[in-house]
Amino acid sequence: MNKALHARVAGLLALIAVAVLASVRGSAQGPARPAVPPDIAGEWRLDNNEQDTTAQPPLGDYLGIPFNDAGRQRADTTAESIWGTPEYQCRPHSAPHQWRGLGGARILKEQDPLTRTVSVYHMQFMRSLDRPVFMDGRAHPPAYAPHTWTGFSTGEWIGNTLKITTTHLKDGYLKRGGPQTSDMYTMTEYLTRHSEILTIVTVVDDPIYMDEPYVESTTYTYDPTSSVAMETCNSSSFAENGGTDRHHVPHFLPGQNSALTEWLKTSDWIPVEPTRGGVKTIYPEYRATLNKSVSVADLKVPSSRSANTVDKRIADESPRDGDVHILPVQGNIYMVVADGTNLTVSLGADGIMLVDTGTAKMTDKILTSVRQLATAVASAPTTNTCFGANCPGKWGWASPYMNAVISSPAPARPLRYIINTSAALEHIGGNERIATTGFFPRGSQFGGAVENVGPRASVIAHEEVLNRMSAPAGKVAAFPAAAWPTDTYFDEFHKLPEYFNGEAVIVYHAPAANTDGDSLVYFRHSEVISAGNLLSTVSYPVIEVDKGGSINGVIAGLNQILDLAVAEYRAQGGTWIIPGRGRLADTADVASYRNMLTMIRDRVKDLKGKGMTLAQVKAARPTMDFDGRYGSTTGPWTTDMFVEAVYQSLQEKK
């Protein structure tokens, strides 16, 4: 048979086969069914050979990254050596870099046992935590839920392409060697399988640091003989950065990273400007600037817009909506988000403990929510499991003679303790009314109340809080006596004298931090720390220098939290930290906030050391790369006020 005929016969056979298959499917299955998406589960081998996968990416190579000024400065000043800090030594690759990291990928599928549809894909890489991609239509968590290294992912099939949408990501890096992301980026991935090839298009949308989304593609090949290696990681409590300071934060001052153009010595055909990134440099139109036919300033490019409403997402971490939201944390502990401030609640057999009481206007809603929560959690009704005369003897409704089905549980135990982490209005505003709903035995007879005071909860705070709220006899106090702390401490810490809800609770003083009277509260069995105003994921810390606050005190307080807290695994989870404002955090989040404040402190100190006035320091914008994330030009705490507080608190004491 000649070749042409061979080809014609083969083609005819193929057509027949397709027709037969189509008729069989049509007759056997009735009406057309939705297309079955391709199976992407299995072992996949990385085919990319990009510089950021197999080799060492050069420092300062921002080619193709649509950086804004903040993104560029953040990349220039963040040292790769940050990996050596105890909190980051075992962090996995950031989400955008996982597909580019070595070691291949494994995709597993979890099926609904009844419908056998895929309910969750699990993605694994050599340097990753398990990454679930939920296919069951669930919603993304609220903004005040924690962020993780892999984020929260949901997927949907669009034809033969799996679209994955990821939110709740920690800050990290676009690729190794410098370019950073904020913790507000979202990531959209498109996975398309063509036979044995899997193409992943990743869109990183981070308006804090980029003028438009960053897009890259990575290719994998199906390879059932490969297996994803598991990187073991043993971190230490000491910094790998040398020296003996475990709190050392390596970074470059702006303009002092001299290595950014080092790589161009061997790649001298590349002009410097595009290596610094920027949206105008990544489009073909940029070539016109190289022959000077158009200036960069006048260049127009078809830039695509970000779909990430980042300002709203930051605000939603601490919603000022006049309502109360409750997030279960761990063990006995719940986070109460109350109109722009967070409270911490411990619930259990001993009763209720409240860390901070919110603003006065929220008292009714806070009381109602906490009572409902306590009833549901600590005093939940249970069904009767034993009927008849042979039940073990129990007093009350459950006895054999009271054959009820549903119990009527005792009311929740009362509020016993309030702890104020500071004298800020959002921490003490509810003291007066909330304390009187509680009971702490301190009367002349055991279990009794002081006769002329009446039952009320114990209110614990550092003595500077009481000093600020009260006044000596004959002078007018800032707050009524009923709102004052009843039990103060003056030492480095205050241990509650006995377990509460089955655990030790220790109140630590953070000296000269936001003010002179700040505390953080450690729930030692639940592994939760209530950080007060030391930590805010929605703003720079409020530092009241006139009340004894200082930037160094805030950084020391954050370091104190990091010394107490332990990550569960690979720099994530473990001890949870409830911030004064914003989303629930873990060690890596606190480290990120500490790192940011350390960088800003060192920049202001450097500028001040050069003899700059406060106005000159402000004009130098030492917070520029963090303003999009934490700054504000309006409201009660602006970036200007923060820089001024840092500057003033770095004054040498005379």
Binding site: P57, E80, S81, E240, G243, E262
Partner: protein, 131 residues
């Protein structure tokens, strides 16, 4: 025989991938510079993804500092005959290394290690470079 060969290749691949840095060496260390440190070993942590040797040695101003020298992971060191007990606290050693890019940071990437007492060395034979 074929199975043995596959096993060897497989092991080599795993070793190679496990040893790759999660951070970038070129960005962490100045690979155009070299420092020589002579002093007393105070800690050897053999671990993954990278081991660390701590040495008390003078900085460029003559002030004794505790330096952290990043070394290879356990798989690479093990394959090259280095054990946890190969180095002991108090050993007088000489290290050449790439210094950190961050000013004032006492951190470096191991190039070679020598213990004059018994001639123990690392860094001069083929493959003795931190992956």
């Amino acid at each position: 025989m074929r199975r043995m060969l596959l096993l060897v290749i497989g092991t080599a691949l795993v070793t190679a991938t496990a040893a790759y840095a999660h951070h970038s060496y070129a960005a962490t260390y100045d690979v155009s510079k070299e420092v020589k440190l002579e002093g007393k070993l105070v800690q050897f942590v053999m671990r993954n993804p990278h081991s660390f040797v701590h040495i008390e040695a003078p900085d460029d101003k003559g002030v004794t500092q505790r330096w952290a020298i990043e070394w290879a992971g356990t798989a690479q060191l093990g394959a090259q005959g280095v054990k946890r007990e190969s180095l002991k606290v108090g050993d007088e050693i000489t290290i050449t290394a790439r210094p950190s890019r961050v000013p004032g940071e006492y951190r470096a990437l191991m190039l070679s290690l020598k213990r004059p007492l018994d001639g123990f060395t690392w860094g001069n034979r083929t493959g003795e470079a931190v992956d």
